[in-house]
């Protein structure tokens, strides 16, 4: 491991149990996350991005199996016993999920939910935990934190609830925060506030954040490096600016082209033809080849692995049709 690397995922594979036997939801994924870095995982639904986060936290559905390694602070998360993992989860690695109205318990006070982890993991008393909860809520900019502690989730708006969910995640000062579509359920104005909050936390607390989203605009705003996933595999991985301005994988190009044009106008949207593969329906060869305008014969037969094309930039597309334009 290089200095500063917090999490190193190598050849992560996740098999989910289906009626037709085990199927790969994640297939040989490798990436690293440095301390204080925001790492983005992008992809459409079914690309395996959420399953990656679940595998790291040991929260995969029953009967799922994993392969590969995920080394966090020197220990392999995938090889840990459930008991060891419970000490890591919520303490060194925390998670923020998409929908704050389901991730917070509706019947418990905010105080209970923010202090629960601290009291369990850090073994501190009620009043000390309470004091820290007030600090946390003001860190995430909840107005009048003392009063907020007595309130329940339903008394807050969606954006405020997501801020509270982030406070819960930060309670034990984690080193790594997994944020799965943290702003998808929110309005753009509220989303802007949450993105700014995540950015501030990373700077002030040297917190590493893995942001999982299908929204390339969100990626562009917060991520330092981006991994684009397709069919459970890495299509392209590299620095934010390189991936978004000079994509080398046809799928990344397609995702960017499908976005409304920043200058607007009468032009129609350009969707990627076809739809993403379902679990177990990932085609042979390159998973993207049936939808790819540049596919050649070898794409149908050989499954490409990401290969370096530039500084920190790896692309799983051997024909490299976009190489000339980069």
């Amino acid at each position: 491991m290089t200095v500063g690397t917090l999490l190193e995922v190598e050849d992560l594979t996740v098999w989910l149990a289906t009626r037709n036997g085990p199927r790969k939801a994640v297939d040989g994924l490798s990436f690293r996350v440095d301390a204080g870095e925001v790492f983005g995982i992008a992809g459409e639904s079914g690309s395996g991005k959420t399953m990656t986060a679940m595998a790291l936290l040991g929260l995969l559905p029953h009967a799922a199996r994993t392969g590969g390694r995920a080394v966090f602070e020197g220990r392999d998360l995938l090889a840990m016993r459930p008991r060891e993992l419970r000490d890591v989860r919520g303490r060194s690695i925390a998670m923020v999920s998409q929908d704050p109205s389901t991730s917070l318990h509706p019947m418990l006070s905010i105080e209970t939910q923010v202090t629960e982890h601290m009291r369990h993991h850090l073994g501190i008393g009620r009043s000390e935990a309470r004091g820290r909860a007030v600090e946390l809520l003001s860190t995430v900019r909840i107005p009048d934190p003392e009063r907020a502690l007595k309130a329940h989730p339903a008394q807050f708006s969606g954006g405020m609830r997501q801020r509270i969910a982030i406070a819960v995640a930060l309670a034990c000062e984690p080193r790594l925060l997994l944020a799965d579509e943290p702003t998808t359920a929110l309005d753009v104005t509220v989303q802007a506030g949450i993105l700014r909050l995540l950015d501030r936390l990373r700077r002030e607390r040297d917190l590493a954040v893995v942001v999982i989203t299908h929204d390339l605009g969100v990626m562009s705003a917060v991520a330092d490096r981006i991994c684009v996933m397709y069919g459970g595999r890495t299509a392209e991985i590299g620095p934010r600016e390189t991936v978004l301005t000079h994509p080398r994988h046809p799928y990344t190009r397609g995702l960017l082209d499908a976005l409304p044009h920043p200058e607007g106008g009468a032009a129609t949207l350009r969707p990627i033809p076809g739809s993403p593969p379902s679990l177990g329906g990932v085609p042979e060869g390159c998973p993207f080849h049936p939808r790819c305008a540049f596919a050649v014969d070898s794409c149908r037969a050989e499954r490409p692995d990401p290969a370096p094309v530039g500084s920190g930039h790896r692309v799983a597309c051997p024909p490299d049709p976009l190489g000339g334009t980069a």
Binding site: S220, R240, G264
Partner: protein, 313 residues
Amino acid sequence: MSVLLEATGVAVEYHRQGAAPLRAVDHADLTLARGEILGLVGESGCGKSTLGRAVVGLQRTAAGEIRFDGRPVAPLGLRRRPAGMRGLQMVFQDPYASLNPRRLVGDQVGDGYLLGGTTKAEARRRAGELLERVGLPADAVRRYPHEFSGGQRQRIAIARTLAAEPSCIIADEPISALDASAQASVANLLVELVRELDMGMVFISHDLSVVRQIADRTAVMYLGRVVEVGPTRQVWSEPAHPYTKALISAVPRADGGGVLPVELPGDVPDPSRPPGGCRFHPRCPVALPSCAENDPPLTILRDGRSAACVLAK
């Protein structure tokens, strides 16, 4: 262009037990011409869906008037709607909820023709044509909704709407529940249909960048009011209302620049207790002292643009 749909001073109230009525829409105005796409945007809770439902008659209004093709739109009751209202149709957000899982796709699409008085066989044949028109295979007629993906289901729901031969469609977040690539293709389909059939469409969405791409005109709602309306291009390039400006600068761009979007502080106030004066003044970055007292009406500026702000020129 002739006016197809016109709403003036529409108000919708939700009555709640033991509490004051909640005014979800308060004096909202809208007009829509044939062949035109009007984007209706705003944060959640601003009343855009309620206004959309009121306009098709799914929601009883407390005040104001809605006219479709020159005739007043009456709220939908237990009886059959007057024939003149068949041209006004709605596309809903969730195609998992808007289609009956236990009926064949062809039968559901054909309903509109049956109500129009055709025979069963004819309705089914024409349903097949419509399904092909929206980009589905012809054998879709004999299949069930669960056999299709979200994007395909939304196409089925659109075909079902088209069977009524509408001249005006109200689409409430029609692409929000779909995957990114399906979003673009369903949005394109709606635009094509509007142009080809010379319909009008109100496209309700929280996704400003899609509205920017497809809408001819954009109306921005805040707390039950339309605060700005105008040709999409101008509304985006020089927004007249500070709220429109805030919304636009909050949209992150996928340009790789690493620029954080601008935050609009504060939450949308409780619509049952709207602030006095201009409803946006507590969050407005350029509010004047007088904004706390005077509630500006939607005023015509120029070039078909209107805004409800004292600072708008």
